[in-house]
Symmetry: C2
Subunit: 159 residues, 2 copies
DNA sequence: GGTATTCTCTCGCTCAGCGAGATAATTGTT
DNA sequence: AACAATTATCTCGCTGAGCGAGAGAATACC
């Protein structure tokens, strides 16, 4: 068994966090009769809403790596459960925008709220330099994974 | 749109990292003709190996949230692809321990290596206090998610 | 020694997601 | 303005991951 520096310990720690948060999300899915993909879809939809963009069925499918048939089935499922609404786009009537129902947002908040609250609480205990370290490290990891996906460097915002 | 403190920004960042690393792992699966669950299984097996524990079929299934039928199918799949070996436990001949093949480890290393290397590189740029902040924050999040799963506080190692 | 328990596997089924292709709306061409 | 080409979503039939029920085999308990 090779001995490694403190860096590898943190890498394994990050991986453990990813696994554990994935399990947390899977628990939310199971408790509410949903599948992991459904939760990923709701997250993508809420992210788009927070960013002020509207999410069409096609863009949602692309974001999740589904083809059009799978996307239709996914939106059917979410709509049947009352978590989203299909809204026909009036400017381009081929498109269907998918809107999250407020009750789905509340459901998510009730499950993820405590965890988020605890994370905020933890972050409250750090000073500016420590917060910057956490932020920069996470940003760096996210950008590296993104670059690997898109095949090119993500544009950095000017300082 | 409510304005939030710097804490929520980091929470969203962590969530983005989880999503992006999940996608990175899904890409590894797809490129090698595997499913997300197969990758999770390999990770669990390698974690157990690093911890010096042997992983039985049953324990693996429990760790992934599968029932026994699904676990058998999973191990069948991994064995057929040559990623693991079934080894009948000689002390308790009901048990089957699952061992990762060295080639699967190499395959994983070739995919995740660059990302891990970049993370280590990033971590090399921080001093002790910053590293401690990153480590403690990730540990805190992991423990909170764990507590939610197990229903009780995880034991903290003495300082 | 016999019964209960534990671990894995088999069988039949459900449903998420895929490939192929249909349908409808938009954009481009002449 | 009619016609073709493109785009967005949906329908149909199929494959395969994972489940429930239960069988088979080894171990633990009394």
């Amino acid at each position: 068994m090779q001995e490694q520096g403190p860096e590898m310990e943190i890498v394994h720690l990050l991986r453990a966090v990813v696994v554990e948060l994935g399990a947390h999300s899977a628990r939310f899915a199971q408790r509410n009769g949903m599948h992991p993909t459904d939760v990923r879809a709701l997250i993508a939809l809420m992210d788009a809403e927070r960013a002020g963009e509207e999410m069409t069925a096609g863009r949602l499918g692309t974001a999740l790596g589904l083809n059009s048939a799978g996307t239709t089935a996914l939106v059917d499922r979410l709509e049947r459960a009352g978590h989203v609404r299909r809204v026909r786009d009036e400017r381009d009537r081929r498109r269907v925008t998918v809107e999250v129902d407020e009750r789905a947002v509340a459901l998510g908040r009730s499950h993820f709220g405590p965890l988020i609250g605890r994370a905020v609480e933890l972050l409250g205990g750090y000073d500016e330099r420590e917060l910057a370290a956490i932020r920069d490290f996470l940003t760096g990891v996210r950008e590296t994974a993104e670059e690997d996906r898109t095949g090119h460097r993500a544009p950095r915002p000017a300082p």
